[in-house]
Every structure is written in C-alpha cells, then in structure tokens.
C-alpha cells in the first residue's frame, strides 16, 4: 500500500463507500425487486473499488515532475491543457478522487433505495421506490 497519505485517505474513502453500498443491500429483503436491482450493481461497485486499488498502487510509483521532464529542463514547451499540465502524481490522485466520487454516488443511490423502502407507507411501495431505483441505475451507469 502506498505510503502517501493522500492516496491512502482516498482509498480509505473508496472502501467506506463500498461498505456503505453493501450495508444498504443487506437491509433489503431478499427476493424483493429492490434487492435484486441493488445486488445486480454490486459487481460494478467491486470493479470500481479494484480500480481505486490500482490507482493507489500507481500513485506510489508516480512522479511529481510535470510533463516534459524535470522542472529545470531548458527549451520551448508545447502548449498543454490544464489536465495535461498535471504531474503524473496529481493525475493519479485526481482519478482516484473521481473514483471515490462515483463510489459514493452509487452508495448514496443504494442507501436511497433502502431508505425509500423503509419509509414507505401502507400504500403501494413501488411508487416511492421507483424513483430511487432509477437514480441507482443512473449512478451505476457512471461506473465502468
């Protein structure tokens, strides 16, 4: 595991989001439509966590020099975009943070489904849960 605290904090946040998704899944009754849909997205959440782990490892090896070599390199520099001006270290960190964001959104969507099911009144459950399931689908589509 990387000794860099920023990468370590990012991966810890990714693990927390992953655990939150699973906790939301466990609150749903097995066999229910909501449980099936949240369970179907668990593989994508696992894959995203694995991606975060790869970014953590990459961050350990990443350099902090800007593209084109060391900061002391002489000569003309080509025009770079803001993203391209980031050092490899910063790019990996940014990608890890984006992964954390996607995982938290997916976890929020699953928690939203669990909360909607729990708060449903004595009437039809589907009317209040459908919106949350649609949000879950959208959040899972962000994951690779």
């Amino acid at each position: 595991m990387s000794a860099d605290p920023r990468f370590r904090a990012g991966f810890a946040a990714a693990e927390q989001a992953h655990g939150r998704y699973l906790r939301a899944l466990r609150t749903l009754a097995e066999g229910s439509a909501a449980h099936r849909q949240v369970l179907a997205g668990a593989d994508r959440v696992d894959a995203e966590l694995e991606r975060a782990a790869r970014l953590l490892a990459a961050g350990e090896r990443a350099t902090r020099y800007p593209p084109g070599g060391t900061p002391f390199r002489e000569g003309p520099r080509r025009r770079l975009t803001r993203r391209q001006r980031l050092t490899p270290y910063d790019r990996h960190l940014h990608n890890l943070n984006r992964s954390v964001l996607r995982l938290y959104r997916a976890a929020d969507a699953a928690v939203g489904v669990a909360v909607a099911v729990a708060l449903a009144a004595g009437g039809p459950v589907e009317s209040t849960v459908d919106d949350e399931l649609a949000a879950l689908t959208a959040a899972l589509d962000e994951l690779r």
Partner: protein
C-alpha cells in the same frame, strides 16, 4: 415494545435523536404522575399505549440510520477535505446530501408529535387544577385522543419490507 426508560440503541448521533423521542414520552409520563386519581388520569394514561408504536417506529428508524451512516447524515470531514483538495479543483459540490437525512427528519417528526401530546396532557392537567370540579372531562379526553390519532397518522409506522407478489 421498547421501554422508554432504557433506550438500547448504540452511542452516536442517532442515539441522541432517538433519546429525544424518549424524553418526550417521559415528559408525558411525568404529567400523568402529577394528575390526581380520577377520570382524567385514567383517560390520559390509557393514551400511552397508542404512543408506544411511535417510539418503536423512531427506534427502528434510528437503528436503520445508525447502520447505514453510523456518524449521521453529514459527510465525513475526511471525505470533504479529500474532495476539496483535488488537483483539478473542489469536487465536493458534485456530491449531494446523504439520503439518511430523511430518516433523521422522520425521527424529528415523531419527536415533535410526542412533544405535542405531552404538552396537550400538561394543558389538561393545568385545566383540571384550575377547574377541579369540571364535568366535561370526557370532552377533554376526546380532544387528546384525536391528537394522538393525528400523531400516529403524521408519523406513520413503516411497513415491513415487501417481497414481490406480497401485499
């Protein structure tokens, strides 16, 4: 039914919010204890049985909230700091509030209803103290019963989780 004298929820923000609901029911108990023996005391005390399901609902809601977000609906400070320090700029505004905020709202609604019932019972106790020979106690109790029924409707009991095909 949970005993309001011994809330058994774990420590944390959810326990505090549930404990506030317990405090409201305890306030109701204290009002009943001050009433002299008679029709009013019997009628008010009988309403307590209808308030316990509200407390049970608050407990289940708090337990669910504590399981999903143990530290409450607010985002962890470490996460907020992490996203704010991103090299490409603050990513924190791309993350909305946690859905467990709705669970907290439910608990606060129940607390409000229980507090309202306790206040109404206190008003009846004060009225009896001012008019000890009143003959329309039954009307007072009917008003309290309507308040309890309204509280149960406002903080409805969550339905059990449903399996497909089951109503």
């Amino acid at each position: 039914m949970p005993d309001p004298w011994r809330p058994d929820l774990g420590c944390g923000a959810w326990r505090v919010w549930y404990a506030e609901c317990c405090d409201a029911l305890l306030a109701f108990d204290r009002v009943v204890a001050t009433l002299p023996a008679g029709q009013l005391r019997d009628g008010v005390a009988a309403s307590r049985a209808d308030l316990l399901p509200l407390l049970a609902s608050a407990l289940r809601t708090a337990e669910l909230g504590a399981y999903l977000d143990p530290d409450g609906p607010a985002r962890p400070p470490a996460l907020v700091e992490l996203l704010a320090a991103d090299p490409m700029g603050d990513l924190g505004d791309r993350l909305g509030p946690s859905p467990t905020g709705r669970l907290r709202e439910r608990i606060e609604r129940i607390r409000g209803e229980l507090t309202g019932i306790a206040d109404e019972a206190a008003r009846l106790a004060a009225r009896l103290h001012e008019h000890p020979h009143a003959t329309d106690v039954a009307v007072w109790l009917a008003g309290l019963a309507e308040g309890v029924a309204q509280a149960r409707r406002a903080a409805f009991i969550p339905s059990a989780y449903r399996v497909e095909g089951e109503r």
